[in-house]
């Protein structure tokens, strides 16, 4: 999910193993992975493993941070005080999750500034779903239900990721995530069950706009994701794109029935033989357009992050300058006392 573009990117050049010592290290590394063991920050690891993780974890972090924006769009318009508090807490959780993930990535030799630089320059990506606009309050509910639902499916397997700092961050995230999807679903249920005709129409409209982009969250089909194999070999990725997507469809169709909404897919139907729901073709052209920077909100999202960062530079500088002055004062006082 956070490697949507990486799955199909040309394989990075693998540096030929230089020494017999490295060959031994790599073998032990592979043995530990195959035995289901954990890799910690200071363990030897192939450079490609490290680089893949830095990209995936940082893109996961960027997704959380950018993900604050579509929901933040409605923070000042939430319809009740309870919903306002729930939404703010959710957005705050996402900020916190981004922070845990940046922290995990920093154990691999990158810094927060470097990662943010990569995001702002367009080198690093974030999940394509956040490039869609939130046009009504129902969108907020649908994001909780579908988008967080999809994210949770992806995140639970990551709690068993071979790289332990990432796995531990995911455990923490999953623990906090549990209320997000429930709250989104609950908001929609109230509108569908107890709301007005107008409210029901707004909910259905939101589902119509978010369904297909949610399916695209799981990335390209397995047949077009050659790099997935290496990630799965390394215990970074546990379940394939298509399998996760299918799992998501099966779970969500049942939930939709409870809500009383329909999915905008005439080909969506239960297949008795397969034991799963069939669904219609995904418009991959749209997916690649959005991943490539040409979705509805790509420019705005990135601009908002860049602006927040740039306009905050004087604040960060001031804090740094103040800390430096305090440290010098303390040092000087120590010297005088000595």
């Amino acid at each position: 999910m956070y490697t949507q573009a990486m799955d199909t990117a040309p394989k990075e050049e693998r540096r030929a193993v230089r020494s017999a010592e490295e060959a031994v290290l790599e073998q032990r590394f592979d043995e530990r992975i195959d035995a289901g063991g954990s890799i910690e920050a200071k363990d030897w690891m192939p450079e490609h493993y490290r680089k893949t993780l830095v990209r995936q974890i940082s893109q996961h972090a960027h997704s959380e941070i950018v993900g604050m924006l579509p929901e933040g769009n409605w923070a000042t318009r939430a319809p009740t005080l309870k919903r306002k508090a729930i939404l703010l807490a959710k957005i705050q959780d996402e900020g916190g999750h981004g922070l845990y993930l940046y922290a995990a990535a920093e154990t691999l030799g990158t810094s927060r500034d470097q990662m943010i630089d990569a995001l702002h320059s367009g080198k690093a990506k974030y999940s394509s779903i956040f490039n869609y606009p939130t046009l009504s309050w129902a969108d907020i509910g649908v994001i909780g239900w579908l988008v967080d639902g999809a994210a949770i499916m992806n995140q639970v397997p990551l709690t068993r990721c071979s790289y332990a700092p990432y796995a531990r961050a995911m455990v923490r995230i999953c623990r906090e995530e549990s209320f997000h999807q429930r709250q989104g679903f609950d908001a929609l249920l109230v509108m569908m069950r107890d709301g007005t005709e107008a409210q029901r129409a707004v909910v259905q409209d939101a589902v119509n706009r978010w369904w297909w982009p949610s399916l695209m969250m799981f990335g390209p089909p397995d047949s077009e994701s050659p790099n997935s194999a290496q990630s799965m070999r390394w215990g970074i990725k546990r379940i394939s794109n298509d399998d996760l997507r299918q799992k998501f469809v099966d779970a969500t169709v049942l939930q939709a029935r409870v809500l009383g909404v329909t999915m905008p897919d005439p080909l969506l139907r239960w297949n008795e033989e397969r034991g799963h729901h069939d669904f219609g073709p995904i418009d991959w052209a749209e997916f690649w357009r959005v991943v490539g920077g040409h979705g509805p909100c790509n420019r705005e999202r990135l601009a908002a992050r860049v602006r927040a960062w740039d306009e905050g530079a004087w604040v960060r500088d001031a804090a740094t300058a103040f800390a430096r002055k305090q440290a010098m004062k303390e040092q000087s006082m120590k010297e005088q006392a000595a």
Partner: protein, 126 residues
């Protein structure tokens, strides 16, 4: 804090911050943005009777900010929770675990991070 007896002139706004010379931290590499706030490791004890557990890191300019932010981020300000913060670079680590898997026997930092390493003289302007 009492009024200081040192006269410090307000530093010009620069794009990189210089750390006091008594510290052993390396200067951050110049990027378009300014010097990064130092990294701190956070340890939290959920309730009395338990140990402090390492739960992650955050960026802050000084210990006071680090503790406050750690409470905001890692405990959501729950009462009764104890928080320790340590500058990542001040932690000395050794991991004898599996010597065959060890990154570098001479390495005594918690993990690899651009801020933990001395830069070559050509880049280090201090």
């Amino acid at each position: 804090m009492n009024s200081s007896t040192i006269s410090t002139e307000l530093p010009k706004t620069e794009t990189t911050a210089e750390w006091p010379k008594t510290e052993t931290t390396a200067e951050w590499p110049k990027t378009e943005t300014t010097a990064e706030w130092p990294l701190w490791e956070v340890f939290v004890r959920a309730k009395a009777g338990l140990d402090h557990k390492h739960c992650g890191s955050l960026h802050a300019t000084d210990a006071r900010m680090a503790v406050q932010l750690a409470r905001e981020v890692y405990t959501r300000r729950q009462e009764g929770v104890s928080v320790w913060v340590v500058k990542s670079i001040d932690i000395t680590a050794s991991d004898p675990g599996d010597k065959d898997m060890y990154f570098d026997p001479m390495e005594d930092k918690v993990y690899r991070h651009p801020g933990f390493y001395e830069l070559p003289d050509s880049v280090n302007h201090m």
